[in-house]
Amino acid sequence: MDFRLNEDQEALQDGVRSFCSARVPHDVLHELAAGEGFDRALWRELAEMGVFNLCLAENEGGVGLGMADAVVVFAEMGRVLVPGPLIWTHLASGFIDGAATGETVVGGLDLYSVDQAPYVIEHLDQLDVILLLRREGVFRIDPREISARAIPDPLDPLTPVHECSELPKGERVLDRDDAMQFRLEASVLAAALQFGIAEACQELAVDYAKTREQFDRPIGSFQALKHILADMFVRQEIARAAAYAAGATLDDPGVGDVLRAASSAKLNAGDAAHKNARACIQVHGGMGYTWEVPAHYYLKRAWVLENSFGSIDEHAEQMASLIS
């Protein structure tokens, strides 16, 4: 056992991190938020870097890596809030033409636990293919098949949404077992994005607390602030451990229970993302409440992810049933 990142994973992390920090700095988020909340050129670049074909076998044109590696990559994208249906396109790369190369943007709706209107679809204007994730399988529909209303004021300015009241059945592309695996992997990747948010918020808040001065000293020297920041670090590390463990368990199901690992990751990383984003706003004081400081983007994305691939209650109930 060596639960640390191996050398390849460290290199992968470094590579994605330097791409993300150069390509998606905070002012780019502001530009995207003012526009369509999506950038096709960036999507292609992510594809070239291997974000979407990462877990495809090499003989299918992929990088041939596993879920643990994908967790590392998605955590990095969470840190900078890369917008778009990352999880759907990544998981569709094996069965939707063009997904792996970034030419086809694949989004979807998770109907696994709740299948009732109103249906809220993310990034609809950008989608070339929509997947419907149901218990009995994954179904493909053409975005032009549905009539949806754009919601003019999405909660997360980087996640535009439409709502519609009816969905076609669609063409089945994955069977029941594969749909279950799809959902499992999707919830772990969501947890990885959430962990990335938790870590980024901690770093933003700590940096600010070291430089912002009040009463003639850095606010980070006050114990009241230190304890908020220490708790942010602890939540981040718990989220890291849970997300890494879920990735490692999905790659090697012999080391644990995959459902339990996925639910633990989604709950802990979700909690860390949400609470760290809130704390990040609080530590920034009045500036944290402005549009200019990006802390609000993190909290808003944390809310989006909290409602993706299993709610808090769904995963908590699943945990309880798995251990009882």
Partner: protein, 396 residues
């Protein structure tokens, strides 16, 4: 990012599990908590059995009688000890997890030869003499004075929160040897024979109502200079070697026991009636248990990550503070929820019907000490903020 135990780890697990399957039931039920003579026999007797079977000092070097197990074997060991509900280290705690490791790291050859085997064999009980009435979280403010007189130090002062002082043969004692320098620079670490004249032990009853702790008073107590561990006035550094250890993996087996405690809570909730159905039928309770279970799993993953890092660096990392902080607060939440499931039956501390009041309420009350002992939660947060996150110290 590999969580698979090696073949040799699994072989070790199989051997240990087979041994525990026989040895644990054979050792019998633990004696009442207030029967200290029986507790010492029970705890040291179990330690001796571990030693004879080759499972004592799992992390200690072989030359001192330990097993020198790899860190992953230690994780297996903690998992199996908890799985088998094996006896707790009990009165051996300070010797095995504190004094012993300090002597290994900093002691002289003579000190090692004199104490380490005996601690491992359950023949020597240690206690701790660190805190003082004026030196709690600010441990370095300690005032118990030691003055050199020939080959002895002469000790005068007052220690508090001395675990197991009334049953111990030796104590780990922090004393002030130089009052004229900055407080961290004038401290020395001594091995104190508890039968030395001039020591008075007064029990300090806790809110649990039992006597693990004492206050210890010193009046002209002569401790040989040869009992000093590390250099004179270097005791603060010597102490921190073990404090970090205490905050790292020392809690590992208890974390797994906490998973068992959660299982006990569920078993109770299936029995207890609420509003004409069982408490476990209440979704709100199940959700709360689900959250706690998820957090426990994540915490154990975090221990594994920390252990794998320590495997590389050789010392437990600072993230031990984060683990200690999280574990102790989580423990309190589990204990409190279990108490809530008991309902009004919790008003009695002995078992009512088939409800395990005694176990739950003892754990609930004892858990109040977890966020205070070995560095309060507030001190851990300061350590994380200043030493991990690099935040500036508060201006004095």
């Amino acid at each position: 990012m590999d969580l698979r135990y090696s073949e040799s780890d699994e072989k070790f697990r199989a051997e240990l599990r087979a041994w525990l399957d026989d040895a644990v039931p054979a050792h019998g039920e633990p004696p009442p908590t207030d029967d200290w003579d029986a507790r010492c026999v029970y705890d040291t007797g179990w330690q001796r059995k571990l030693f004879d079977a080759g499972y004592a000092g799992i992390q200690w070097p072989r030359e001192y009688g330990g097993r020198d197990a790899s860190l992953t074997e230690q994780l297996v060991y903690y998992e199996e000890i908890a799985r088998a509900s094996a006896p707790y280290v009990g009165v051996n705690f300070v010797g095995l997890l504190h004094g012993g490791p300090t002597v290994i790291a900093e002691g002289t050859d003579a000190q090692k030869a004199k104490h380490l085997q005996k601690i491992l064999r359950g023949e020597e009980i240690w206690c701790q003499g660190f805190s003082e009435p004026v030196a709690g979280s600010d441990l370095a403010a300690l005032q118990t004075r030691a003055v050199r007189d020939g080959d002895d130090y002469v000790v005068n002062g007052h220690k508090i929160w001395c675990s197991f002082a009334h049953v111990a043969q030796y104590g780990e004692l922090l004393v002030r040897t130089d009052p004229d320098v900055r407080k961290h620079a004038g401290i020395t670490w001594l091995i104190l024979p508890m039968d030395t004249p001039g020591i008075e032990i007064r029990p300090l009853p806790t809110l649990v109502g039992e006597g693990e702790f004492s206050e210890v008073f010193f009046e002209d107590v002569r401790v040989p200079v040869e009992n000093r561990v590390g250099d004179e006035n270097d005791g603060w550094r010597v102490t921190n070697v073990t404090l970090r250890f205490e905050r790292g993996t020392a809690f590992a087996s208890e974390m797994i026991q906490l998973q068992h405690f959660l299982a006990d809570l569920i078993a109770l909730a299936r029995k207890v009636t609420r509003h004409e159905s069982h408490a476990w039928d209440d979704r709100a309770l199940r959700l709360e248990v689900g959250h706690l279970a998820a957090e426990l799993d994540a915490l154990w993953a975090m221990v594994k990550l920390s252990v794998c890092r320590a495997n590389q660096t050789g010392v437990p990392g600072l993230e031990g503070s984060a683990i200690k902080l999280y574990y102790t607060e989580l423990y309190q939440r589990v204990a409190e929820l279990a108490t809530r499931v008991l309902g009004r039956a919790a008003l009695g501390r002995s078992d009512i019907g088939d409800r395990p009041n005694k176990m739950i309420l003892n754990k609930m009350l004892q858990s109040l000490s977890l966020t205070i002992a070995a560095g309060t939660s507030q001190i851990q947060r300061n350590i994380i903020a200043e030493r991990i996150l690099g935040l500036p110290k508060e201006r004095k």
